[in-house]
Symmetry: none
Subunit: 226 residues, 2 copies
DNA sequence: AAGTTTTTTACGGATTTTATACGGATTTAT
DNA sequence: ATAAATCCGTATAAAATCCGTAAAAAACTT
């Protein structure tokens, strides 16, 4: 379903590295780890992380230098971990481009929550989820649909139906699920609603509505998009 | 030179409020303060802060509710202050949309640094100073609008509506969000305000107001700019 | 006090959604 | 394989909602 999220962990202490790695993996993030600032900088280039966790007190460069190196070319969120509770250091690092600063000891839930905050900030910069298939283009964020580049006007409900199908990206979506999600629980077996909106959608987005190429019906089950 | 930065401070303890206010003012920020969540929500509408500082432990609503109210209509950075060091609370608030969470006691320099972090996140979003599309030109900074090079006089409210649409740059903006942002929460379903101002705008900026090319209505949802 | 801007109220047309009906297609059971 | 049963596509019309427009009262500006 949604694309993998990559996190780069830079920490020289094996014990901490492992704990954090386990926690991150349990959330489904893809992790790459580096044991030094140099290595971290190198790995970031190919790994293209969505977020970086940087532990201060690295052997080779001090964390401040590493951070400044990163900020020369990327604005990816960086969370600093440290035992150092000195306020001046905190301020220096935050002003150098760090997005957050966590002082040990801290709990894993807090780290994970702060990671989510960091990812949230960048989420709109991330690829706009736009579905494309042949002549059809559906932009879920902007609520826009086009066929052959021409914008197509959809009503609200039409868009609701279409976006449900698009989000499942080719998987069949059962009628009852669609009905429940869009019209509410009580409408679970009012399948005529769907029939009508599928019809509307097809006349709007299919070249030949009687031979649908995009919205395929799976008889007895539901619909899916191709 | 650069435009003023507005910060809204919501805190019921006068002593803390004053200390923070002094610190913020010394940095050149413009401050508005509220002593309760309700008042904070109300003030935010007209004050349009670039950042909000929210102290938990307010008398009327709990901070969590206030935060969620804000997140229904604005993505402005929110920093939480609290004496409560409970991790579960932290996680809950961060996940509800808070951008940072500071536990008292903390130093003013750290707060200021974290404010800078929050402002940094939004600065590129502000960076759409002038919008152009066909004959229409909207300069958000200078509050100027022109069609075919001729300046167009807009009233305050008209400009508010237009700038909201421009900032979303083509995305649909729902009626309820527009109403909440411009007229306040209570106006969420007073759609006639919008109808009227959209009408005004169209007669001012569209060549043929009955066939709008710039301000398009998405029936049942809201409006968007093209 | 005159002019501008915002709020309030009202109405009719346009769009969208819901409702109903029927015949063809597809699946299921014999 | 064929008939029955179910499911799906289509057409049409009624109902509900939404949107544009006008005009005037109230609130603000100057």
């Amino acid at each position: 379903m949604s694309q993998e999220i990559r996190i780069l962990l830079i920490d020289d202490e094996a014990a901490i590295r492992d704990i954090i790695k386990i926690n991150l993996k349990s959330q489904g993030y893809k992790i790459d780890a580096a044991v030094s600032g140099q290595m971290g900088l190198a790995k970031a280039v190919e790994f293209h992380p969505h977020l970086i966790i940087l532990d201060l007190g690295l052997p080779d460069m001090n964390g401040y230098e590493v951070l400044k190196e990163f900020r020369k070319w990327t604005s990816v969120p960086i969370i600093i971990l440290t035992v150092n509770d000195d306020e001046a250091t905190k301020v220096r690092l935050l002003d150098a481009g760090a997005d957050d600063y966590l002082t040990k000891p801290f709990g894993a839930p807090e780290l994970l929550a702060r990671i989510r905050v960091g990812l949230r900030h960048n989420e709109f910069k991330e690829a706009t989820p736009v579905f494309r298939s042949g002549d059809l283009e559906v932009d879920l964020n902007q609520k826009r649909v086009s066929v052959d580049g021409r914008p197509v006007r959809l009503t609200n409900t039409e868009f609701e139906v279409l976006s449900r199908l698009v989000r499942e990206n080719g998987k069949v979506v059962s009628q009852s699920v669609l009905l429940k999600q869009i019209w509410g629980h009580h409408a679970e077996d009012q399948s005529h609603y769907l029939r009508i909106y599928i019809k509307h959608l097809r006349t709007k987005i299919e070249k030949d509505p009687s031979k649908p190429k995009h919205i395929v019906t799976e008889s007895g089950v539901g619909y899916r998009i191709i």
